[in-house]
Amino acid sequence: MTTMTDSKAWTKVEGLDPGQDMFPAVAKAGDKRVVIVDTGKALRGVELACPHLKAPMSKGIMMGAGSMIRCPKHNFIFRLSDGKGVNCVGLTLKVYEIRQAGDGMEILI
């Protein structure tokens, strides 16, 4: 069911409609809830709540041609490649890789 990679594991993404095309969208991965975003080139997962004050990243706004996401509450911005805070040095948003697996997708979490 899952493949281990270091301490992370490829985990089935659940709770998304098959034809889902509205992102960011909340999904389930095992017992965790995550937010799936569309960078324009690929899908990517991020943690549910902003590391600043826990605002919902499902309402995040994509920026920089899909390379960054902006928290809707206080406009803190994170790079989707590695989660690094762009205008908030020292804060990091957890980001996860996503891959296609059969009809669905898996997230490295």
Binding site: N75, I77, G90
Partner: protein, 506 residues
């Protein structure tokens, strides 16, 4: 868009506006005669033969707006501070805490005389200024150092720059930190400007209430309508007694809308108990220019919605802040002989929504919109959205390319960069948000100072040389903090890259 900046003729008649100068009790349709940058007269049918006439019939003309609390410099500042100044109807603004006394020289080198909007400073009691890391701002240990001689020397050397001293109601320690701030404010002869609000997210932090007890007449309290712990109203929404007492003593309440500190619910309860603000300011910064603050006029419109009259709203951005800041000789009034600092605005009718910093929304049928700003002998036709340009508020380290500006560094600046590279290779640091090493920021600044002295480079040129290596846009930041923010290996590598490409092109 410099085409919107217009240099007017020597003599001008601003014709037919509703002239509103609450400080002088003026509210009527009149002409304003301006000559050589000064107000010559406010009256009827003023028409010197050679005057240029600006038809303002249907508009409102007020003294130039003063934004008592903005962030132009440092970790919260903008690439183009005028975007929240003259381009939004504001002729004077105060940087609220960007620098501290250990960074006022950097503030002066980068900001003084560089904005069309008149810029004043309200430095933070913390020597380095605002850190921009919210969880650390409230820590009293971040106030490390209290250099009285440096404050006194600055006041002597640069009279009139510092208009208040900013302090926050920090976590715990009773009234201690606030009394230290009040003491220093008295020593340097400026009002105390106290921040309450989001640092008090810890429930019922009582030090916020100490601020109301310590402040005296003319001191200012920012963010009165915040909805974090230690609100100005109790659980039954009754105004706290120390808040009413402070109001009675003549302490001034400044909206300072910000990103965290304006709640419709608290504001409505306060208005219901006779506590409208004395001053309306925006607290515009990198994080709220794209909402929810947007502009001073947006915040003014929210006060209109709360039931303040238009003249009272105008007074709260003109006469009252002018008096609070000691600027009566140059701002906040249309009296004869005053500098022609003016804002032209309209009250537009429609269906509008105004959102507070918590997501609370109120609809309104009126909105204040500035259309022209007159200052420094020039006229600016406003552009409210200029500040929202991403390049203006998103401070981004160019980590995948050398900014173009680095190619323009002078030989003296390159010599300085090389010396900095060598000096910094002997210093170790790492940025840790949870245990912010402010001492290290001061140490990095000391290295910068020593190298600069050795290289004989003016402060401004040295600061810009370093910023050019990392920033595509002209943002500012306290240099010690800026260096601390950068990963050491990346920083040294980038300086090497800049030096290498300079050698190649030479």
């Amino acid at each position: 868009m410099s085409d919107q900046k217009i240099r007017p003729a020597t003599v001008q008649v601003l014709r037919g506006a509703r002239v509103m100068d609450p400080g002088q009790g003026i509210d009527r349709v009149a002409d304003v005669l301006v000559q050589d940058g000064k107000i010559l007269d406010v009256g009827d049918n003023l028409a010197p033969p050679d005057a240029q006439v600006v038809d303002l019939r249907g508009d409102i003309l007020t003294p130039g707006w003063i934004d008592n609390h903005v962030h132009t410099y440092g970790t919260l500042g903008f690439a183009d501070p005028d975007s929240i100044g003259v381009w939004q109807g504001v002729t004077s603004f105060v940087d609220a805490g960007g620098p501290g006394i250990a960074t006022m020289d950097e503030f002066m080198a980068l900001m003084s005389g560089r904005t069309a909007t008149h810029l004043y400073a309200g430095p933070y009691i913390r020597p380095i200024g605002i850190i921009g890391a919210q969880f650390t701002e409230g820590d009293i240990r971040s106030l490390n150092g209290f250099p009285i001689p440096a404050w006194l020397d600055f006041m002597d050397r640069h009279p009139g720059v510092i208009r208040y001293l900013k302090i926050a109601a920090l976590s715990g320690y009773g009234s201690g930190p606030i009394k230290m701030g009040k003491g220093l404010a008295e020593v340097i002869g400026v009002p105390l400007y106290g921040h309450i609000g989001e640092f008090q997210m810890q429930p019922e932090n009582p030090s916020a209430y100490e601020l109301f007890r310590v402040c005296q007449e003319g001191d200012m309290i920012a963010h009165p309508y915040h909805n974090s712990g230690a609100r100005i109203i109790d659980r039954s929404k009754r105004l706290r007694p120390e808040v009413a007492d402070a109001k009675q003593r003549g302490v001034l309440f400044d909206i300072a809308f910000g990103s965290y500190n304006f709640s419709w619910e608290v504001a409505e309860a306060a208005f219901g108990q006779g506590l409208p603000p004395d001053i309306i300011s925006s607290d515009l910064q990198q994080f709220n220019a794209i909402g929810p603050a947007y502009s001073l006029s947006h915040v003014m419109s929210m006060l209109l919605r709360l039931g303040m009259s238009l003249p009272d709203v105008i007074k709260a951005v003109t006469a009252t802040p002018a008096r609070a800041l000691g600027l009566q000789d140059r701002a906040g009034s249309l009296r004869r002989g005053a500098p022609a600092e003016m804002t032209v605005c309209r009250v537009v009718e429609g269906d509008f929504e105004f959102v507070d910093t918590e997501g609370g929304m109120r609809s309104a049928d009126r909105k204040i919109v500035p259309v022209m700003t007159f200052t420094g002998g020039a006229r600016y036709d406003t552009d409210l959205t200029r500040c929202q340009n991403e390049d203006n508020w998103l401070l981004q380290i160019a980590d995948d390319h050398v900014p173009d500006a680095a190619a323009g560094l002078s030989p003296a600046q390159l010599d300085f960069i090389e010396r900095m590279r060598n000096a910094l290779s002997g210093v170790a640091w790492a940025y840790n948000l949870d245990q912010l090493d402010l001492e290290k920021a001061h140490e990095l600044r000391a290295v910068f100072d020593a190298v600069r002295a050795e290289a004989g480079l003016p402060l401004r040129e040295a600061l810009l040389a370093l910023f050019c290596c990392f920033l595509d846009r002209p943002f500012t930041m306290q240099i010690g903090l800026f260096l601390l923010h950068l990963e050491r290996d990346f920083l040294l590598g980038r300086l090497d890259d800049v030096l290498a490409s300079a050698r190649t092109s030479a």
